[in-house]
Amino acid sequence: MDALVNALYAIPIVGLVFQFAGYLVAIIPPISPIILRGATPLALGGMCGVVSERSGVVNIGIEGTMLASAFTGWVVGVALAPVLGSTPIALFGITLPLLLALVASLLVALAVSYLHAWLSITVRADQIISGTIINIAAAGVTGYLNTLISKNSPTSAGSFALFTPPTALTNLPIVGWLFNMVLNQGPITMSMLVLVVITQVMLFRSRWGLRTRAVGEHPRAAETVGIDVIRLRYRNVLIGGLFAGLAGAYLSMEATNSFQANMTAGRGFIALAAMIVGRWTPVGALGAALLFATFQSLGQAIAFAPPGGELGVLMTAMPSQIYDALPYLVTIIVLAGVVGRSIAPAADGQPYERESAT
């Protein structure tokens, strides 16, 4: 057996692959909380896509919705912090300004989604164009306002704090790191996990879920049994907006305590990819988000704790830009492998026209 392993290691590439696998096994548990944090906006954005597209409305405006809510959360916090003070009132370092900022960011996400719903459902505009408008407008408006506001170097309202799980839990053998991964998190990341499970169960077990899936596949059939297709689509796009809003709030209020122009950096689009790879299911989207986030964190891991041996030499020698590009490359490769086998809801992207009730 040893001889076999040694023989395998002797083949240069196979050796590197083995070393890399070993490195992953060693490095993932300690960086797993970071991976989950990276996956949070992607999974939330993916869920925005899932609930919207399952009902037949394509939403590529996730990126813009996230950006708008990230900006709102930050700017409302900035405005309220001096007035309301910053005494934590509960767990997670929640302060009154932070809480109100979160509510404001969700409201803005709802408003943006309402615009998308109105354009794609009522006006029956091209849904891709509607989403693109939102992306462009959000980047422009938030970028401009940010430039204006940042001139005064305002003080932010801070950010949600991480929960510190008891060490008795995190030090458990074998599973301890999982507790650390899930519990050493802020409120939005933890909510994301709960929301993924709830949405998954609701989509496949509840009345709302059945109706959503039917409307996304065959809206006419749904209407003939008395379902209001238009209202259901509006509702789903708005629910999706809340998810995207949470994703945006995460970026400016939990991951950081600031806003930078275009800080979503394509996460809204990777979220769409996660939705497709995850076959339009919430759990699938989370799985895909975790995969992308793993590759995102790998670059940092290699910088701080490079593997030993030949692999380490090789990996540290590679320019860091490669690691920055890695999650995007993985996105393209996985999508290319999955697209075509992952089937979208049949009526996805098709505006619905009611039978004339005149």
């Binding site: 509840s206 059945l210 039917a214 596949e217 059939a221 049994v225 004339s356």
Partner: protein, 531 residues
Amino acid sequence: MTHPADSSLSPGLSPTLAPALAMRGITKRYPGVVANDQISLDVRPGEIHALLGENGAGKTTLMNVLYGLARPDEGQILLDGQPVRIEDPADAIARGINMVHQHFMLVPVLSVAENILLGEETMANPIFLDRNEAHRRIVELGRRFGFEIDPDVKVGSLSVGWQQRVEILKALYRRARILVLDEPTAVLTPQETEEIFAVLRRLAQDGHSIVFISHKLYEVLEIADRITVIRRGKVVGERIPTETNEDDLAELMVGREVQLTVDRGISHPAGVVLEVDGLRVKDDRGNEVVRGVDLEVRAGEIFGIAGVAGNGQDELVEAIVGLRRPAGGRVSLGGTDVTGRSPRAMNEAGVAYVPADRHRFGLVLAFPLADNLVLTSYYRRPYSRGILRDDAAILRDAEKTIERFDIRTPSATVKAGTLSGGNQQKAIVAREFGREIQLLVLDQPTRGLDVGSIEFIHRQAIDKRNAGTALLLVSAELDEILEMSDRIGVMYRGTIVAVMDGRTADKNEVGLLMATGGAEHGADATEGRTA
């Protein structure tokens, strides 16, 4: 018949009993047309009432009024003698009125149970569905009306006959008392039709009222207790099957004497025009669906291909007209190998083609009628000169064609999509028949058309045959094949399992071959394997 033809004479049903459904003086006007003009219709409890009429006669409008999809301008609807206002489909369902649409309103990726539950969910609590209870009720309902159904199967994997049953179950699950079936047998084999009829009879016995919309006269005569015929928005007659016949009904429906079966006359086949040799064709998913077809069509004969939809007919036709590259085998036209030639090359070699789906392949619905009439010749003189179209020539010839083929249209420049189905098909026929051709390929040429248009198209096809054209006719309507064909080939799982004389072929025998492929293929069918 399991119950008397005229249920008013039945001892169980007193003649004074209020009709389950009464529509009184329904009038519905649309701009420029009166779709329903003072229509009255009575349906008694336990009655199968057939509604007969051509496309555009107002059947659909009347049923839309009943189902809350259209609001009548005048008139009244009474349920059990009580006047009601039906606001929308949900309202209709709540009142026990259900409709089985011609195009099934089923979601293929959802299970049988999910399709049935949709909109009328059985809940375990305010949020979650009660699947066990739903399953129990569905299985029980199926048994009550004579079939076993698995509620977990995806609807998309069921045959059309079973999808039809799911539609009926859907209505029964909603405790429907009045069931409207719109052309329910359009896509069924004769055997499947009989099975559905058996279900409908049980429903009627159970006290349900059924409105049966159809254009197949002999079916209406077989299943209905009473028949109401409407023409141009008006009721033109009410009949009892025992006191009428197909010719009478057809005349009532069309308003003039109709030749139901075009006299095909005697064919005088000459030389072989189309020769197909060991043809193999793959579908879009890469499965071989045509597996070695050999056939010959001679000049001056109609070769009909019978088969349940989806046995490779579409792909066979597409390979012959050049739309699909064959995976193997040979297609020859007048002795020349034309395998894999482009559609335009086939067109220029004298092949005309009337596709099955006139909306997707036959016409460009958003283009004017005149442009559609030159789709196969626009690039040639006189319609083009150099790189420019000659609109005047296109329009001039279009007007002549419209006249010659009696296409009913306000003008040659309206969009093809605004014409009725019959007139759209006439436009395709005009384009394809109106030139010198050797071979005419007709794929489902009369699907969804009314009797008048069917008669027209059949007569045109017979004329072409008599003029020496070779015709290949594909149809899922067995009657059409039997009426039209000089020879019949039965297609089953990608091969022609039998060829017979069109005049002596027996309907049940062909139906059985369509369903099972014959004795030597029968074993495969039951095992669900492929040959």
